[in-house]
Assembly symmetry: C2
Homo-oligomer: 404 residues x 2
């Protein structure tokens, strides 16, 4: 498996672009993204579990229900959610893709992100479409990645290649994150493309399997968005023998997909609203996977742990506290906690109680921009990892200012 | 029912005091509280549901298991939690009460609040006990209320009188809140005293019934503490006919207890770490109570709603979003949202979609220090209220600085 450039255009058959069409007031911010494929693709998606769903999700679910799609259109700046005319507008976005390309409206994945409850102005989208389509290219992934950003500070893009049946295959993805991000969801906005020859059923299975350990293990603020969506399109142009069951090919594909989605999950966590550092909570020797996941998510979601990490303060009592309010069964008196970063590792809690440690060493470890909290349950063999970020003044500033 | 002064000393038979004994470094901060009664009391308690429990809770549960107690001792500055010698130290605190008063160690309720995982130094407590006991008086409630505070900015104290069988009865309470506060718990630290003649069984029943709609509906930060505890002591000196069943007397008692705990719940929410305003979410016309409570708690707990309220920003989309990620069943297209404060009320969402409203009026309403979010579900007759506060820079500062 090899990291390559190209993002969502790394796989054969895909082009992308992103433009500023005018939904967002700031002219420097791109706000409309398009990804297209030369051929109809096998397609699969997972969606927010929030009961208040963005209109684009409803339209996308319908369009993708036959397992086929050929394009993704996505705007930022307006979520097109909680609007009486939301579905109509989302449908219009698909129609615009059809009008300006040879792709059928019913093969378009449509997504929106931004403010909830403001009527989406179609004029800028309609006006911007020709330019958006004209600019489609195999170099367009960065622009598409930029156009789906909201409060994100960096664009998130990745691609890997790997071999199947002697053929070079590719998977690439772009994502946006930042706020309204919580594990109790399908995911945030993430678009993945591949040229692996795979049935839409197996694509669906792979996505469901991999998302559980990657994007669903990210928590920024506990707010599950109304518009989260992760879709994957496969052009099937790599030339490998078609994957139709859970054999070796499927496993290889899942392995690479996991690499892609893990990278994007960590990038999203690191770029959480106001974050100064990436937090990782690794739970090991847990009773079972469910328990390991639940504990990892609880620690990574705790406002108090997050605030302590912002201050590089080894306040491990808050970690124990967050473990304690999960629904899981464990023996508190067996729990060990270590803090780790690239400069070292330190044990702060053993058998559920504090151990003497050098505060200055702990502070040095926690001052790095990527920090791991390792929770050893000593009651089984299961493990899980969750990702998040610290809680900072900046999170409050961003979210106090966002709409007005 | 009449609001009166006296706090936990309003009821007949009770004395209280609070001193600075030296657990906390700042000499201006009281850190050791004692409440005693002239007679053994009927007693009941509810405790945190966090699986990591403070050692004092274990000792208190044992001491209160016979339904009798006569004193409360509580220190701030150290939670006496996650320490190998925690139970031993908590027991020593009870022994110290016995040593300096005529009250049996096994009739003492012991509580601690503060940093988790630091060994409790008994010396200051032992040294401070005689002064603490010497200062016990019927005017001592404010000092006791101050001595249990951690990051609280104001002390929380209340008392009411009411009549039963022609006898004047009293209930009073003190509480501390601020951080690590979440509805999924018994409660924070709250000590209630009364002189109502009531069996410990009915006291237990009343406490369980009333806490559900009061302290358990407060959410500051989603972190359920390891040390939360609410206890009630009854001296039975009011002279009313003993309450032994769910008759009129019991109902009157519950009504007054609800008044006390509602007041303390709101005070705790208003004084949430870093809060600039009290938020209240009233859910009405919900399918059932469970659904109403769950929606109210979800809205009041949302970081994004809380940050918007800090900015007095009528970002109702975030309210809908928070309603949407509850597990409850409702029809989004029937939900109305109003924002209200003492200066007025404004509708911002009707039938699940935005309605035009005057932003300047909304900002004026939200700029008050007590704000209500009213969610009308239009799918039943149940209602519930939850209390919380806004999310501010100050919350982050307090929690980043707390330990170091």
């Amino acid at each position: 498996m090899k990291k390559i450039s190209g993002g969502v255009c790394a796989a054969k058959g895909f082009k992308a672009n992103g433009v500023h069409c005018g939904i967002r007031k700031n002219k420097d911010k791109l706000d409309l993204a398009l990804i297209t494929c030369d051929t109809p693709c096998a397609a699969a998606g997972v969606y927010t579990k929030n009961k208040v769903k963005g209109a684009p999700l409803t339209v996308t679910k319908t369009n993708i229900s036959d397992g086929i799609a050929q394009a993704v259109i996505c705007n930022s700046g307006n979520a097109n959610t909680c609007n009486a005319d939301g579905i109509e507008k989302a449908q219009m976005m698909c129609d615009l893709v059809q009008k300006h390309t040879s792709i059928k409206a019913s093969d378009v994945i449509v997504a929106s992100t931004g403010v909830i409850g403001e009527v989406l102005n179609m004029q800028p989208i309609s006006d911007g479409m020709q330019g958006l389509v004209n600019g489609l290219s195999t170099d367009g992934s960065p622009n598409a990645a930029k156009a789906i950003m909201t409060t994100d500070r960096v664009m998130k893009e990745i691609a890997y290649s790997f071999e199947l049946d002697g053929k070079e295959c590719h998977i690439g993805g772009i994502a946006k994150g930042s706020g309204m991000i919580n594990p109790n969801m399908a995911t945030l906005l993430c678009f993945v493309t591949t040229d692996v020859n795979i049935s839409s059923e197996m694509l669906d299975l792979a996505l469901g399997k991999v998302v559980k350990d990657t994007l669903n293990m990210v928590c920024i603020d506990g707010d599950t968005s109304t518009n989260d969506m992760l879709t994957i399109l496969s052009s099937s142009l790599a030339g490998n023998e078609k994957i139709t069951d859970k054999g070796k090919g499927f496993n290889e594909f899942c392995k690479c997909l996991k690499k892609i989605l893990t990278y994007l999950a960590k990038e999203i966590a690191k770029d959480g609203e106001g974050a100064t550092k990436l937090l990782e909570c690794k739970v090991v020797k847990a009773k079972n996977i469910k328990s390991a996941k639940s504990i990892a998510q609880s620690v990574i979601s705790s406002s108090l742990v997050k605030a302590a990490m912002f201050a590089s303060d080894a306040n491990w009592g808050r970690i124990l506290c967050a473990i304690g309010y999960t629904d899981e069964k464990f023996d508190v008196s067996k729990i060990d906690v270590d803090l780790k970063s690239r400069v070292g590792m330190i044990r702060v809690c053993e058998n559920g109680a504090g151990v003497p440690f050098d505060e200055s060493v702990a502070t040095k470890i926690l001052s790095e921009d990527e920090v791991s909290i390792i929770v050893t349950c000593n009651c089984g063999g299961a493990k899980a990892t969750a990702w998040g970020c610290d809680l900072t003044y900046e999170y409050v500033r961003i979210n106090a200012d966002y709409r007005t």
